[in-house]
Amino acid sequence: MQRYSAFALLKHALSGNERWARAWRSGAPKPGYDVIIIGGGGHGLATAYYLAKNHGVRRIAVLERGSIGSGNVGRNTTIIRSNYMIGANTAFFEFSLKLWEGLSHDLNFNCMVSHRGQLVLGHGPGQMDVHARRGNTMRLNGIDAELLDRDEVMKLAPYLDYSKEARFPIHGGLLQPRAGTARHDAVAWGYARAADDYGVDIIENCEVKGIVREGGRAVAVETSRGRIDAPKIGIAVAGHSSHVAAMAGLEIPVESHVLQAFVSEAIKPLVHHVISFGAELFYLSQSDKGGLVFGGHIDGFNTYTQRGQLARAQTVAECAVSLMPMLSRLRLLRSWGGIQDMTPDGSPFICKTPVAGLYLNGGWCYQGFKATPASGWTFAHTIANDGEHELNRAYSLDRFLQGKELDEFGIGNWTYKQ
């Protein structure tokens, strides 16, 4: 593929930028492939890339019902971090963050991976103890973490509300310096271009409508562009996981909920870290385009509409202005929503399914974007070897029957409370 670099930019500028090649080919689907990936989001594209790169699989198709990147990968608040303390989560998300560090190089596509640090605030001694357990576990697993007291938080983020009137006074916080953000669209396009370079067919406007099974095996998919055969089929459709799994007769522990996100008007640099409120679910960072990108809790009831309620926008704004009083006069530019595949314990599925040849990648709740590289890597391994990688063995469909939930935040088994 054409190498992207400053030199390339200059060379093309001299010839009027007319000889830039397409980032990924667009064509009709072939009748059959070795592996079909359903879903052209971050996870689907990354899986196709690592199948080709790590496992030498040649004939791969990614089938996307709309345009690639139109799902959650294109609408999330771009926070990447690895401050996980429960079982397999710790190693999995740290592996992902390590892949993030080299991703722009690996894909030769600037994903603007910004290790600016994420600060999670603590509003009482009890909460600081929980942060301490998380931070200590991170350090014991080679992950960077720092426990800050109130004064240290004030130095890092002087614009938070330290006044006496603050409803939930700030006692301190847990900082992960290597955490940060990445440019969401670049991740989808970067993986697409790199996968295309390995010969992966990326088929857009191709909705999978049925999964064909013969003798208990998945053998093909029915799509809006005809039937396509493959001995191995990977589902990576995030919010539509139940919908597509049902095509193979599977009922999975997932409920679809809308999460809203918000961006302010673009302003000069103001906030230099990812800030997470401790009293209520609220998180904020400033995009490189200058807008503050933030969000809070899901709206809280099953839905497939990619739009949210005004009342939720108001409670998120209440958190924003209470945490950072300076934001009161800053204006909301745009609000949107995405459908999240919520699981009872808040952790995902990257696993085989009871249907031979059919593999599931889903259940990503709030945290699928940061998992994109590791999810692609381990899902590719699972498909290529028909068996889970050590990193994703815990993300199985039967974990609830075993009592092996991975309840990262101790909320209990409720999809709509995660």
Partner: protein, 90 residues
């Protein structure tokens, strides 16, 4: 604002209610000991993209649990009744 009809209080914003999830699954009897039955009750969901029958509790109101039919693709609200009113209660 999603508007729900509480059979006792009338039309209200959804913010007065607390969501209770899928209402199509009958709770196994207390004596039921089969882990598989309880697992399916708690951990498997139809999660349809279309009509969905769900529980809400009118916590900023009369505290009644109600059953609402709502389409998860359009948010059109259908019939609503008190959870207690199905079956045997006269």
């Amino acid at each position: 604002m999603l508007r729900l009809t509480c059979p006792f209080c009338g039309d209200r914003d959804y913010t007065e209610f607390r969501y209770g999830g899928d209402a199509t699954k009958t709770r196994p009897a207390s004596e039921e000991t089969d882990a598989g039955i309880w697992h399916d009750h708690l951990f498997s969901f139809r999660n349809p993209k279309g009509p969905h029958v769900e529980y809400w509790q009118h916590v900023l109101g009369c505290r009644q649990w109600i059953v609402v039919e709502r389409d998860t693709a359009t948010h059109e609200i259908g019939a609503t009744h008190l959870a207690r009113d199905t079956g045997d209660r006269s």
